[in-house]
Assembly symmetry: C2
Homo-oligomer: 638 residues x 2
Amino acid sequence: MTKYEVTFLPENKRVEVEAGTTLLEAADEAGVYINSLCGGEGICGECRLQVISGHAKADKDAIGFFSGEEIQNGYVLACQTAVADNLEVLVPARSRLEMEKIITEGTPLAYSQPGKVSLRRIAQDPATLREPLVSKVYLELPEPSISDNISDIDRITRGLRQKLAYSSYDFSLSCLQNLAEMIRQQDWQVTATVAKHNDTGRVLRLQGGNTADSNYGLAVDVGTTTVVVQLVHLETGEVIGVEGNHNQQARYGEDVISRMVFACTRGSTKILHQAVVANINALTLALAREKGIDTEDINGLVAAGNTTMSHFLLGLTPCSLRLQPYVPTATVYPQIPAREIAININANAIVEIMPSVASYIGGDIVAGVLACGLADQPEIKCLIDVGTNGEIAIGNNEWIVCCSASAGPAFEGGGSKWGMRATKGAIEKLKIDEGRVTFETIGQAKPRGICGSGFIDAIYELARNRIIGQDGKFNLSVTDRRIIVADDGPQYVLAFPEETETGQAVTIAEIDISNLIKSKGAVFAALKSLVDYVGLSFGQLEAIYLAGGFGSSLDIGKGIAIGLLPDIDQQRIQFIGNSSIMGARMALLSGAAFDKAIDISRKMTNIELSNYPPFMNEFIAALFLPHTHGDLFPSVHY
Amino acid sequence: MTKYEVTFLPENKRVEVEAGTTLLEAADEAGVYINSLCGGEGICGECRLQVISGHAKADKDAIGFFSGEEIQNGYVLACQTAVADNLEVLVPARSRLEMEKIITEGTPLAYSQPGKVSLRRIAQDPATLREPLVSKVYLELPEPSISDNISDIDRITRGLRQKLAYSSYDFSLSCLQNLAEMIRQQDWQVTATVAKHNDTGRVLRLQGGNTADSNYGLAVDVGTTTVVVQLVHLETGEVIGVEGNHNQQARYGEDVISRMVFACTRGSTKILHQAVVANINALTLALAREKGIDTEDINGLVAAGNTTMSHFLLGLTPCSLRLQPYVPTATVYPQIPAREIAININANAIVEIMPSVASYIGGDIVAGVLACGLADQPEIKCLIDVGTNGEIAIGNNEWIVCCSASAGPAFEGGGSKWGMRATKGAIEKLKIDEGRVTFETIGQAKPRGICGSGFIDAIYELARNRIIGQDGKFNLSVTDRRIIVADDGPQYVLAFPEETETGQAVTIAEIDISNLIKSKGAVFAALKSLVDYVGLSFGQLEAIYLAGGFGSSLDIGKGIAIGLLPDIDQQRIQFIGNSSIMGARMALLSGAAFDKAIDISRKMTNIELSNYPPFMNEFIAALFLPHTHGDLFPSVHY
């Protein structure tokens, strides 16, 4: 078969492919990651490339995505273009899927340090014992005698009862089948691997001698965008390593809704299930190799994700999640052996998924509530986790209310011309002083666009400089060479063409500002609705924890100033980073913490804002900078 | 390859085999069952055949088993003789392994009728519900609404809680994976298959619509000699069918000890495991076909067997069972999915093994205790199950003591020249009056030998006629043409050559009588030791239940008269038949009964007679007809 060489610029990566291979497939093979939100269907128009040399022509169905000039300049859709010549192609900055700053760790807080995890202790044992979800217990058992001839598993159980506090023990058949020889050959020295299953200790493995030190687990954050795996030593609690990658499901849809549609209209749940399992296996293998650890010694995995991700991880059809009345197959998931979902760790290892509350309140937010200690004390605290959906929980050790508000993609850089995720080249901090714009980009690269925290800064700075009014509209009486009025309305130039990587100006348009105000309005209105629902005021919140990618580079003062966050003492607002993986690790390190997560999930009352009439009024009142009711923001002055 | 034809007489079965095949393998292929206690090792000498035509020669190692005359007459060992010619061979009567009278059912007693099984009832439900180990529950669930949008499995659990009394429910992953679609397509009508696992309901299957009527289970008696399977409808409790066959393990050793040796000296546990699984699968398939039932609808199996058989069934190495201090791998066995041991019923079906007490007190005796209701009331009762080992349990609803006494093979027809199992042609009843012997044989066939109950009758009748003394020795002053004095001592002719199938006289020798007196002495001494141990007298036993193959044709009066059974009111001694399968079926039909079996097994105190000094004195005192201390048998007069 004829082969051709394709060179991808600017990275200058080459690959030889067979004739007929699509450019998207060739890019994949070359290790060049190209945006493809529709999964190669020719629908999203994201995978555009410019052919520099060689012959390739835009498919006629793809032509609608390009202007006449672009077609002239050799623009094609990678997924719709078969290779039939040696080619040099340029991947435009906007088409590149670059590695984001994946938040792989939370900021240390109450529970984020293993040592601070509140653990069950055993009264009879003077030593301070941690009780991870999967323990390894070394036993030196007395040899049987005619006066003490209980069965081998009764002898092991008797030994375990002295070290663990389960009310009963289950043994898998594989543990028993050669036990009699093994334990006698090993002079009654044996290490039991025991998983917590409610009040029962499930004995997964019995090994001769003392192998208690080789006991590892995985804490996994299954995000819609990224998957993060922490390799944890279950006896010391130490995080041995951490790796993240893009959720491979992104090929089949950018957000949960499009993935659910993909799965349900085509019966393709299995494809999405396998994609995320492949993510976890790849990260796990990389970690194990890097750290010189045998994957056979990984005995447990706890994953946290939203309800859709949790369903995909278990291979459950998500179709009823997205349609009224929004019913998940499960919210508390069964404990399963790793082999049942083809996770490549010890075949008897257990997999637990952090429990969900409802279709749109997932295990990630339950993990966050666990991690930030919201449910520990009588003081009332609040957790805000903002991604495409904003999830909010308020409560204490007795009650928790929560809700999910559709914040839209604005905070993640979606839905606007120059919006982008928090990846290399994104403007993440920005200041405007007397017509001068200074900014910081991720990776100190030339700007390619603007991410969520950059947008918040921009809106605040534009309003502070009175370039826009408190309604978000441009004040066209201001004279500023950065203000341009185009066909689609006024916009402000944040970076001129000569400053940017693409050679085009990075701008923020009035419509972008309006979208962002809607997003911040939705989050604030949801928060206000919840606070009102429980009859509190913001001042009564002991703490507000900000979780998720959104929070990490946000200026809290500016967040308050635009009316995203309530006007309370800034000291009480804290970033906690990736609280989802923090919670998953806590559950891995403490069976009691996992029980607590189940308790939390059952205790959380979900307020469906779409059915809660006061929300709409709150939303409308919040579409102003900082808010229609200025008295809610006494410290904010423009 | 050269092929030869072998014809087996008297059945006239022909088979064509390749040169080099042993006659034992050829017989197997022809469907001619030949005794082979050593499993084809040339050790037991049981598989003797007489070559009638064609050339075959006794292997030189096998010659020791034959007299010169026998060698002359063409006798060979089937397992040591390779086919190298067309052959006609005669299978002597003694070498044939014929189907025994397999006891497939117990006599109805307290618990043997499903209707009388004491079952857990649910207070909230006015209907009388049985709760089998695996229930099928049909649910008509309310459709979810926005005000009732709990997860699908929470909805199913809520439905189950109204019908079953488990404290929690576990779902297998396979139940969940396509649940959302299935349950919506089926308009929320679903049938759950739920297995009891301690206090948890394990949901094994979810099916659309109402399939509650298709719920079957298997009660299995895994005997050392025979395997019996009952197919039971779990909702009605009806026994749909029953089948029995020879334990295929018999090829590898006749008794548990020789099979343990086979398994342990060669690491062949797997072979014995597969043999008994093959037994169960063959019986199950035959039953399912005969009754037109889909094996997929068989959702549970409860097996009862001695501790060795239970170990083999699960594939556990039995090596430590037979050596001091006699330690089993397990006495309470894990609940396992049928697929884990390749039982060909529904892959998610559960297998439970009746719990054992110790190496020589197995699940069969625990099942028997359950079945006869010994542990139900304050009245003290006794169960005697006599095979090669005699197991005895005495107790009530508060305590149970038990022991195992090596009765030897005498009661099963072993160890004497004309002893045979209770198969076709065995003399099972016998009377001697004024030198005239009348007898009954199994299957009204010509006598081939004498089985356990026949021996008991014979000894009683010989003593009553003063042909032997109360010490079991022949009274040589009696003149009787039936008394012959051979090289190996005196013997009594029960059937003359012209009456028998073999053309040889069936006799009982002084040495046989001596062995039988030892056997009955061991059983009686064990019983007496247990009664003394708990400070009782025989008169305080409310009932004595006789179980096992031994009991079915025994004359109770003669059993008392020879001192095997204590001299109490005969009305209080009852046969209950196969109490092992009765108990297994009870546990299958009632999870509460299975719990009770576990409770019984934990409550039973095993007295190791080899370490209990009074036993030896009791044994010596019992080596007399009926007993050295005649006052123990006031009603017996010879």
